[in-house]
Symmetry: C2
Subunit: 137 residues, 2 copies
Amino acid sequence: MTIHEKRLQSRDIQPTAMRMRILLFMAETKSVISLSDLEEKFTHADRTTLYRTLKTFLEHGLVHQVNDASGITKYALCSENCTCSYPDDVHVHFYCFSCEQTFCFPHLGIPNYDLPENFTPSNGNFVITGSCPSCSS
Amino acid sequence: MTIHEKRLQSRDIQPTAMRMRILLFMAETKSVISLSDLEEKFTHADRTTLYRTLKTFLEHGLVHQVNDASGITKYALCSENCTCSYPDDVHVHFYCFSCEQTFCFPHLGIPNYDLPENFTPSNGNFVITGSCPSCSS
DNA sequence: TGATCTTTGCAATTGAGTTGCATTACAAAT
DNA sequence: ATTTGTAATGCAACTCAATTGCAAAGATCA
């Protein structure tokens, strides 16, 4: 059994061929991707399948969702023991308005804010927008 | 000249009747609103006009944009001297996954993160997701 | 093998966001 | 006050991401 197969099973996701390929792709690229990105990569697969795969990954906590200024929903692989909960498992992302790429900064955590009374946090989405190294030069 | 008229003019926005009404609505509700919210309120006005009004407000720095987990673009009035730039003028927002409302927390600022080399920040979008007081009880 | 459940593919739909163009309202100049 | 130009608004149509229903294919288990 491969490490990726184990990773799916540890999140209670049936390791089908399709899912393995998508997980592998996300692990290789190490970036934040959209459904369209998957479509470009997996031209043979159906859009719906890719869509539902991402949704399954999200529901089982294998990936986290990123909402950047592009308005397009993006996804990135979680770290091994991530539960996607605020504040511990939430980190900063960076969206480049020029190339429209989004980056994960797992080492940049989030403050444990003192919220107004009765606001109960469970998750978070933190995106800094600007210019990435490729586009800054 | 009213205070709202001045507010538009200080941002170089022609204070038309439509814009005044929308600004007034946003100032009154004090919440983060979407284009659909405006449509519900201004049933007589055209969708496009409302859309372009929000866009004008955004381009002139009168409102800031919020991207929460709903995937719908939302807008909120800026404070008086806001320039919408990271890190000083960016604050935390709260999205309630239950009622899908979004709140501004202007008193909760953002850390001045030490980004990886050559990442140049200009703006930010910080949203904590959870349950709001109305939905927590 | 047969029965059942899950996954995948196809087709169609929804809804937010956006654009082009015609019309109207406004403001400046004469 | 009338003309003239510019900006704002309304209407219609379109794009595209996201989503759903249903049928076909594949996996699982008795």
